[in-house]
Amino acid sequence: GCASGGGGGEASGGGEDTLAKLQDAGKITVGIADERPYSWVEDGEPTGATIAMHEQIFSELGIDEVEVVEVDWNSLIPGLNAGRFDAISAGMSILPERCEQAAFSDPEIMYTTALMVPEGNPKKLTDLDSVKEAGDVKLAVLSGGIEAGYAEKLGISNPQSVANAQDGMDAVANGRADAFAMTAISLNWMADNAPDAGVETTDAFVQEIDGVAQIGAGSTVFRKADTKLLDAYNEALGEITADEQSYLDLVGDFGFTAENLPPADLTTEQLCAGDLG
C-alpha cells in the first residue's frame, strides 16, 4: 500500500535544496507507472531495473529508502511537477518535448525496438520496414508511444492504438493484430513471462527513418529546479554506467544486456535537442 499520495517535496521546489531535505529524511519518493521490467510493485515491495538502480544510487547519496507512488503513465510528469513525488523511476525516454517540462538525468538505458508476433512469425516480419512492405499487416502500437510516431512517419496505414503493453500482447495473441511494436526490453520480458501466450518477439532492431537511426534512451526525471539533486545523481550514475559489469549486476536480472548500456558519448543535451544524426 502506497496508496496515499503524500509525496516528498513542497510544491514546485523553488530554490530549496531538495537533496538536503531528502538526505535529512533518509527517504525519497519516486513515481512509477507499473511497467515491467522497469518498475513495479510486487508483494508490496517495489522492484524492477530502475528501482534497483535507484536504490543503489540514492543510498550512495545518503538516502537509504526509496518509496514508490504508483500512477498512470500520463500522470508521471504532472505528478512530479505538482510535488507528489521527487523523481520518476520509469526508464522514461528522453524526448525534446519532455525536456521542456522536466530535467532528465544522463542516459541510463538504450532502447531498441522489437515486434511481438504470433508464434512462428507467420508474416515473417523483422522490423517496421518489413511491416510497411507486407502491406496487409495489422500493426498495434502503444497509444502515444514512440513507435506510433515511427509508424506515422513511415506511412504505415492505420496502426491500431492500444492502451498498454498487456493490451498489445492480447491483441496479437487473439488475432486482433499481426504485430505489436514496442521496446525490445518490455516485449522480451512479457514474452518470457507468458510462455503459453502463443507469441514470440523478433530480434531487436534500431529503426531507421529517412536514413537516420532512431536512437532512443531513457533516464530518471527530476524537477527542473532540483539541479543539486540532478548533479549529485548524475555523478553517482556515472560510476555505474562507466563499467559494464556493475551495470549488468544491477539490471541484468531484469533482462537487460550490454546492448542496453548507453555509449559514453551520448548526452542528454543531444537527445533533448532531438539531434540524432
Partner: protein, 242 residues
C-alpha cells in the same frame, strides 16, 4: 489455469486492499454526492432565478466536464497554487462533485413529480419552508428517486476506477497487475465478479431502502422482496386503484 489460481492466491491480500480503497471511495463519494445532489437539486428547482442559475451553472459544469479532468486539476494543478490534498480526499471530492451534479437532476425531477396538492396542503398548514420540504415533500420524492440514485451509485462504484490517475491503487489497478501474471480473461473475470459482488451488495441496500420508502407511502410490499435478486416491481395489471 492452475497457475492463474496460484497467482490469484498470491495477489489476494492486495486485491482485498484495492477493494477496500474502491469501497471507501464509493461510500465517501456517495455521501458527499448525496448532499450535493440535494442542495443543487433544490436550488435548481427553486423559483429564485439567481439560485436556479447558480445551480444550473454548477450542475452543467461538473456534469459536463469529465471526472478525469476534475481529478487532474484537483490533484496535479491545485498543488501548484499551494493547495495540496491527500489522494483519498481528492478522489472523494471529485467523485462527490461529479456524481452530485448528476444526482441533482434526479432530485429535481423527483421533487417536481410530487403532486402540487401536497405543496398546497403544506402551505395551508403553515408548515415552515424547511418543514414542507423535509417532512412532507422529500419523503415522497425519495421513493421516486431511489432507482435512479441506485444507478448512479453503481456508476460511481465503477467510476472510482479512474483514481489510478491520482496515484491510488484501487481494485482496477490490482486487477490490471493480476493480468500480467495470468490470462487477461481470467484476471478480468475476477474483476467482473468482484465489482459485481460489490454492486450487488450496494443494490440490495438500495432495494431495501426503496421497499421501505414505498411502504411508508402505503404502497406496501414486504421487505422480503428486497432480498430477491430482482429489483422490486409490481404487476400494474393486477394492482387495484388505491
Amino acid at each position: 489455469m492452475g497457475s492463474d489460481f496460484a497467482a490469484l492466491g498470491a495477489a489476494l491480500p492486495r486485491i482485498l486492499e484495492g477493494m477496500l480503497i474502491t469501497l471507501e471511495l464509493t461510500v465517501g463519494g456517495a455521501l458527499l454526492a448525496m448532499a450535493i445532489a440535494i442542495g443543487l437539486g433544490l436550488l435548481a428547482g427553486s423559483k429564485n432565478i439567481v439560485a436556479r442559475g447558480f445551480a444550473r451553472a454548477v450542475i452543467e459544469f461538473f456534469r459536463g466536464t469529465s471526472l478525469v479532468v476534475q481529478l487532474f486539476w484537483l490533484f496535479f494543478v491545485l498543488p501548484l497554487f499551494g493547495v495540496e490534498m491527500p489522494a483519498m480526499l481528492v478522489g472523494i471530492l471529485a467523485l462527490g462533485l461529479n456524481y452530485g451534479a448528476y444526482g441533482a437532476e434526479v432530485v429535481r425531477g423527483s421533487l417536481n413529480a410530487v403532486p402540487a396538492g401536497q405543496w398546497e396542503a403544506t402551505v395551508a398548514l403553515s408548515l415552515s419552508p424547511m418543514g414542507r420540504l423535509w417532512r412532507v415533500i422529500f419523503p415522497q420524492a425519495w421513493a421516486l428517486m431511489i432507482p435512479s440514485l441506485t444507478n448512479l451509485l453503481i456508476l460511481m462504484l465503477k467510476g472510482t476506477a479512474i483514481v489510478s490517475t491520482i496515484t491510488m491503487v484501487d481494485l482496477t489497478v490490482e486487477i490490471n497487475k493480476l493480468r500480467v501474471d495470468t490470462d487477461t480473461f481470467f484476471a478480468y473475470g475476477v474483476g467482473l465478479i468482484l465489482y459485481f459482488a460489490m454492486a450487488y451488495a450496494l443494490t440490495l441496500i438500495m432495494n431495501a431502502l426503496e421497499v421501505r420508502a414505498k411502504h411508508r407511502l402505503g404502497r406496501g410490499e414486504s421487505l422480503g422482496e428486497a432480498l430477491r435478486f430482482r429489483t422490486p416491481t409490481r404487476d400494474p395489471e393486477r394492482e387495484t386503484a388505491a
